[in-house]
Amino acid sequence: MKLIIIDDEPLARSIVKEYLQAYPDIELVQECRDGFEGVKAIQQHQPDLVILDIQMPKINGFEMLELIENPPAVIFATAFEEFAIKAFEAHAIDYLLKPFSKERFIKAIDKWRSTEKQLQHSRTSELLDTISTTLQQQNRIVLKDNGKIKIIPTAQVQYFEAADDYVKIHTADGVFLKNKTMQFFEQKMDPLQFIRIHRSYMVNVHLISRIDPYEKEGHLAILSIGIRLPVSKSGYTRLKMALGI
């Protein structure tokens, strides 16, 4: 059994290590100080369990999990995540509120062991889906670009474009891919800033400079950066509402 601890506080890691001594069959393969190390370590070791903190430098625990294709079983260890507690209760294998006792830790490990392997993985994905919808609107997007982790402030996004299983994120610095659906971003982005103007496009309203009629019933949104995007009928209605016209 392989386990990874991801927590930015050294003492928080050491207490988990201490409690783990009760389990000689669980091998601690790596300790990570932040999400960047975490992503690498998880890919490298393919652990059976990750003990994960939420509040960490640069990217938080949820953002880190989003970057991993087949996220492993996770037990969260956190001091205070008011917004996430409900999601934890519903979907996490277990969660530990710091400071936690050894008994509580053992209970969490037992719970993990008694959960079927298949269920463990689906639980983590479920949790991520729930978190992304319940969490207050995100003002940044974390993704992987050529193996490197990139953080894009949403204000820098020009528009989103659907592309098969991916969404293309267009910014001034280039185009980035994230394997999520348009619905995912529609829920996550500020609805006043990003409008779904078409089945395949969601645009940053601040960049729209003109809306022209196009063929019958259709429209074209012309962005100040010179891009033209198709606007569907329902998209036009949404756009008019957002712009107050």
């Binding site: 930015d8 506080e9 050294p10 003492l11 928080a12 050491s14 207490i15 201490e18 100080r33 932040d34 960047f36 509040q55 960490m56 430098p57 640069k58 001091a79 205070f80 509120l97 710091k98 400071p99 936690f100 003002n139 940044r140 953080i151 402030p153 204000a155």
Partner: protein, 353 residues
């Protein structure tokens, strides 16, 4: 903004009634001197209309400029000047209208002093009333602001205990203590001591508003020491407090949220080692300047700006205490975020006040 004395209908109603009564008396007196009705009415209306205008002018002027130390001289001079002007205008107009009537002109000449004194008294009284009115309002406003400031600082303390730093800071600190208790019980005991001292400091500072920078820094140091235990080598601090600055006064618990913000920014916006530097400059005797620097990542920083509660509440508090918006400044250079805080210093006389 104070409500002007002229606000509302009741002021104008009283004002107009007063002048009408005065005009009727004026007409009656002139009739006693056997001046014709037309002349009496013309004289009374011209004089009192002009005088009323001048009074309004004084009232409105005070709305924008309230004399301070030289206030009694101001009233005397403005009354003298305006009443002279008033008399000059009245005489010019009336002389022009009734230039053929010698009896009337004679009376106008004889009544010079009584008219001057009346005008002077009217304008003087009016300016005195508005001066008192506006001074009173200003005092009320000051009082209100002081009350609000007191309330906010109290609320800030409570907020501090409840949501701002406490949940994460407190639970994570307790978790660190729990970790230390297993392996290094002496250190655990030490950290409990620090945490208790810190919490006590947060709790007891309720009544006195200002403390010396030295005291505030002592409290801050406890906080920094605890954070250093939590984050280990990642967190470095550098304090430079000069001797004059150490004895200067600062509103209690003002600095700590700013430093807390800087640490949060530094620790969660970068993955490297974080150096927080705090410098206090007391070279100007009337203004204490504190500079706090922390690293940040210019590429992603807008994403974390939402957590700026620390600075917003400080800006508000400084405004309520000093009625100034320019006491906190932030700037960004390369990878360093700088917060400058200015604390006005008063001598003991005003302090007691």
């Amino acid at each position: 903004m104070v409500a002007p004395i002229t606000k509302g209908r009741s002021f104008y109603l009283a004002f107009i009634t007063w002048w009408l009564v005065w005009t009727i008396i004026h007409i009656w007196v002139l009739r006693e001197y056997e001046i014709s009705l037309v002349q009496s009415v013309a004289d009374a209306f011209t004089s009192n209309f002009l005088l009323a205008c001048f009074c309004l002018l004084v009232v409105n002027n005070m709305k924008y400029y309230l004399p301070r130390n030289e206030r009694y001289w101001y009233i005397l001079i403005i009354s003298l000047v305006l009443s002279s002007l008033y008399l000059f205008l009245v005489r010019t107009i009336l002389k022009f209208w009734f230039k053929e009537d010698d009896i009337y002109l004679n009376l106008l000449r004889q009544s010079f002093y009584i008219r001057y004194v009346t005008g002077f008294l009217m304008i003087g009284c009016m300016s005195m009333i508005s001066l008192l009115w506006y001074t009173l309002l200003e005092q009320q406003e000051n009082e209100q602001r002081k009350e609000e400031a007191e309330k906010i600082s109290k609320d800030a303390e409570l907020l501090k205990l409840r949501q701002q730093l406490q949940p994460h800071f407190l639970f994570n600190s307790l978790n660190s203590i729990s970790a230390l208790a297993g392996t290094q019980p002496e250190k655990a005991r030490h950290m409990i001591q620090q945490l208790s001292d810190f919490l006590r400091g947060t709790l007891k500072k309720e009544e006195h508003q200002q403390v010396s920078l030295q005291e505030e820094i002592h409290h801050l140091q406890l906080y920094l020491d605890i954070e250093k235990v939590r984050f280990g080598h990642r967190l470095q601090t550098n304090l430079e407090i000069d001797e004059q600055a150490a004895n200067m006064q600062i509103p209690v618990l003002l600095l700590q949220p700013v430093v807390e913000n800087a640490i949060k920014f530094g620790l969660y916006d970068t993955t490297e080692e974080v150096l927080i530097s705090i410098k206090a400059d007391g070279s100007k005797s009337d203004m204490l300047e504190i500079t706090i620097k922390n690293p940040y990542d210019p590429a992603t920083t807008i994403a974390t700006q939402g957590t700026g509660f620390g600075l917003a509440s400080i800006t508000r508090r400084l405004y309520l205490l000093y009625a100034r918006q320019d006491l906190i400044r932030t700037s960004k250079t390369d990878k360093l975020f700088t917060t400058n805080i200015f604390i006005p210093q008063f001598n003991h006389e005003t302090n007691h006040h």
